[in-house]
């Protein structure tokens, strides 16, 4: 009997305490696939913002991978519980969320005085449709061959300066020299497929120029994925596969396995973005790292200063959230975009900025300064197809290319498969994404 009384009182007390919490804080969920360095930045932002606004709680939610993020984010949207502030890479995926009415129109915010001077309008390209802006861009990425200078020396291969580049023949000669020296010329993680796509995208741009993809995917009259350069890019890629430019079994190798080959000095080159540098400097601070450009191809019409790359991380606000939360979300977005906070972002993430904010170069590793300079010289940044396109096209593109690498599909078949799905998406009204 006594025991029952005690239990009842305890349970009652618990409920009393639970309901007597102080006034509800406004919760801002902040979703991103952070990674260690950027998470540190997010935590600093959270601490500073909460200190200035005791009634707000910033909840940082971390995701292990882009795919993880995408799956959870789409579920959250479908469940009507979107995070207030979330990161996006822009492009076709953001467009599909905008079309579904899930993303707040940030045009007014981005036309505020500070934003006009700080955020170049060209950097809004990936998040603007019909003249409306939907996200605040933060950083950029660019694709280069990251190289191991020591292995270049060992194989007797001259490192071409970053202001110029190899021809296709010189590139192939270098590959042969590496092979003779018993060095893997290029590491690539083919299992995740997007690494293979880097080669194809560069080859298309080198062959046909920067317009080719945007015009073709957006169904401009006279453009088709079966045009000659799409097939030829497939064959040039296959040429690399057939001459053994990549490591053995590369089609089944993961990003981690490719990274392992490059970091441990077994492979001379790795076509990647600056995100590899954080891990590299953590494990191998003295690595003889450098970058070179993707080679040109015979008869190519593309500008060799063009780079694969894009605005990478943007932040956006969900449309369907309570007004008081939305108001704080706007304010928080302005807060993290403050000059000093953006500089801090650059220092921690070691990424080139998409905002007009000067970062003292001594805060960056030398190779990154090179990446930034090369990016500023670029005539065009080609956004990755699988980020720009609707997911269904992206998947067909990636799958077919992996099949070409495995020899189970010809470049012609790949070109046809891409054209077929583009037509299908145009019939469904998903393409074009923009008028070109």
């Amino acid at each position: 009997m006594v025991l029952v009384v005690i239990v009842v009182v305890a349970v009652g007390a618990f409920f009393l305490l639970a309901t007597q919490r102080p006034a509800e804080k406004i919760r801002i969920e902040w979703w991103d696939e952070w990674g260690e360095a950027r998470l540190k930045w997010a935590e600093e932002m959270k601490a500073a913002y909460e200190k200035a606004h005791p009634d707000v709680e910033i909840v940082i939610v971390e995701f292990a991978s882009d795919e993880d993020f995408k799956t959870k984010f789409e579920s959250a949207i479908a469940a009507g519980q979107p995070p207030a502030v979330f990161r996006t890479l822009g492009g076709g995926i953001l467009k599909s969320y905008v079309d579904g009415g899930h993303v707040e129109d940030l045009t007014d915010l981005l036309n505020e005085e500070w934003a006009v001077s700080q955020i170049p309008r060209t950097m809004l390209r990936q998040s603007t449709w019909n003249g409306r802006h939907y996200a605040v861009p933060f950083d950029l990425w660019a694709g280069h061959f990251y190289i191991n200078r020591e292995l270049f020396e060992k194989a007797g291969v001259q490192v071409p300066p970053i202001t110029s580049t190899w021809t296709w023949e010189e590139f192939k000669t270098a590959i042969r020299k590496f092979k003779e020296a018993g060095i893997i010329p290029i590491a690539v993680g083919g299992k995740d497929k997007w690494e293979l796509s880097f080669y194809y995208m560069y080859l298309v741009d080198r062959l046909a120029g920067s317009d080719a993809f945007r015009k073709t995917i957006n169904r401009a009259p006279g453009y088709s994925f079966t045009d000659e350069h799409w097939v030829r890019a497939g064959y040039l890629f296959k040429e690399l596969v057939d001459m053994g430019a990549f490591q053995e079994g590369f089609i089944g190798a993961s990003y981690d396995e490719a990274q392992n080959l490059f970091f441990t000095g077994k492979a001379a080159m790795w076509l990647q973005g600056p995100w590899i540098l954080g891990d590299l400097f953590t494990s191998f601070p003295d690595f003889p790292i450098d970058i070179i450009n993707f080679p040109t191809v015979p008869g190519g019409k593309g500008d060799p200063t063009m780079l694969l790359g894009a605005v990478q991380h943007h932040y956006a606000i969900a449309k369907n959230i309570p007004d008081n939360v939305k108001k704080v979300a706007y304010d928080f977005l302005r807060f993290i975009s403050k000059r000093e906070n953006v500089i801090r972002y650059a220092e921690l993430s070691a990424a080139p900025l998409a905002q007009n904010v000067a970062v003292p170069t001594e805060n960056y590793p030398a190779v990154l300064v090179k990446v930034i300079e090369s990016t500023s010289r670029a005539s065009w940044l080609q956004m990755a197809y699988d980020e720009y396109s609707p997911p269904k096209f992206a998947q067909v593109h990636l799958d077919s290319l992996a099949a070409v690498a495995a020899g189970t599909m010809t470049p012609e078949q790949m070109a046809e498969a891409q054209e077929r799905v583009a037509r299908e998406l145009a019939e469904q009204g998903i393409l074009p994404l923009e008028q070109v």
Binding site: E67, D99, G249, G252, A253, P391, M409
Partner: protein, 281 residues
């Protein structure tokens, strides 16, 4: 008392099942409020135009078939050996059962590294013993990737088959074996005439487990190859996941789910029927 359980079953099994059938008739991308009704289009696409889906069905059949053909005989043989040499048998049993207890993602990662063409212990071993010509990129070659996955699957599940066989054999009264020995049956005769017939029921159960298991198999393949290289190792579940979440086509993914449901339902019903008629004879 069973009400809460019922609620859970309805909420997490029957409701999603109905939802799956419903979704399979639509074209949708998760985020667009407009779902387009397409009737049976997802199904015609699957069987007429989707080579990878058909390949994934074949892979499920191969997986179920090889699991039955390899795991059951080896499991039965190991069980017989373990029971005969009880003293070291216990230790041996523990060792072969161990893989089944490890999380399958961990197992997949371990084997992915073992299959690695450069650092993997398998190729290193082959080269060390002078069989370097056999070394290959196991998971990076369309001719060996599926076989490599089967190897890992068998490594995990032989322990389970063995354990179930041991449990069944232990439940057989020893007097049967004793009288067999008195009647002068050799070890092999004893196995063929007594042990095997008594294991018939178990073997059917194991086959059902293998078939049902093949249809719901996912994690190991997803971690080891993601269905690659060149879509050669997809099973129906990995292809479903790819369609629904990578290509953002939940309607098509649901349609694949419907076919998985129908296939496994029919096959298991069939097997149960066969078992019943045989066992009651």
């Amino acid at each position: 008392m069973s009400l809460p359980a019922l609620v859970f079953v309805i909420l997490f099994i029957y409701y999603p099942l109905v939802q799956m059938f419903y979704l399979s008739a639509f074209r949708w991308n998760f985020v667009n409020p407009n779902m387009v009704f397409v009737g049976l289009e997802n199904f015609t696409r699957m069987f007429l135009n989707d080579q990878v889906y058909l390949r994934s069905l074949l892979n499920v059949v191969l997986l179920a078939g090889q699991s039955s053909a390899i795991q059951i005989p080896i499991g039965v043989a190991l069980a017989t050996i373990i029971l005969r040499y009880r003293r070291i048998g216990g230790l041996f049993w523990a060792i072969i059962f161990l893989p089944y207890v490890i999380s399958s993602v961990a197992v997949s990662l371990i084997w992915t590294w073992m299959y690695n063409p450069y650092f993997g212990s398998i190729n290193v071993f082959l080269r060390a013993v002078g069989l370097g010509f056999l070394a290959r990129p196991w998971l990076g070659d369309i001719n060996t990737a599926l076989i490599a996955i089967f190897g890992t699957v068998n490594w995990i599940y032989i322990g389970l088959t063995t354990t179930m066989t041991i449990a069944t054999l232990k439940s057989i009264p020893p007097s049967i074996f004793e009288s067999a020995r008195i009647d002068g049956l050799s070890g092999f005769q004893e196995f063929r005439k007594i042990t095997l017939p008594l294991l018939k029921e178990l073997i059917v159960v194991l086959m059902i487990i293998d078939i049902a298991g093949a249809f719901k198999f996912f994690d190991l393949i997803w971690v080891m190859t993601q269905g690659g290289p060149s879509d050669s190792t997809h099973v129906t579940t990995t292809w479903l996941y790819r369609a629904a979440f990578r290509s953002s086509e939940p309607g098509y993914g649901a349609a694949i789910g419907v076919t998985i449901f129908i296939f496994s339902f029919v096959i298991v019903q069939l097997l149960i029927k066969i078992t019943r008629s045989r066992l009651t004879r």
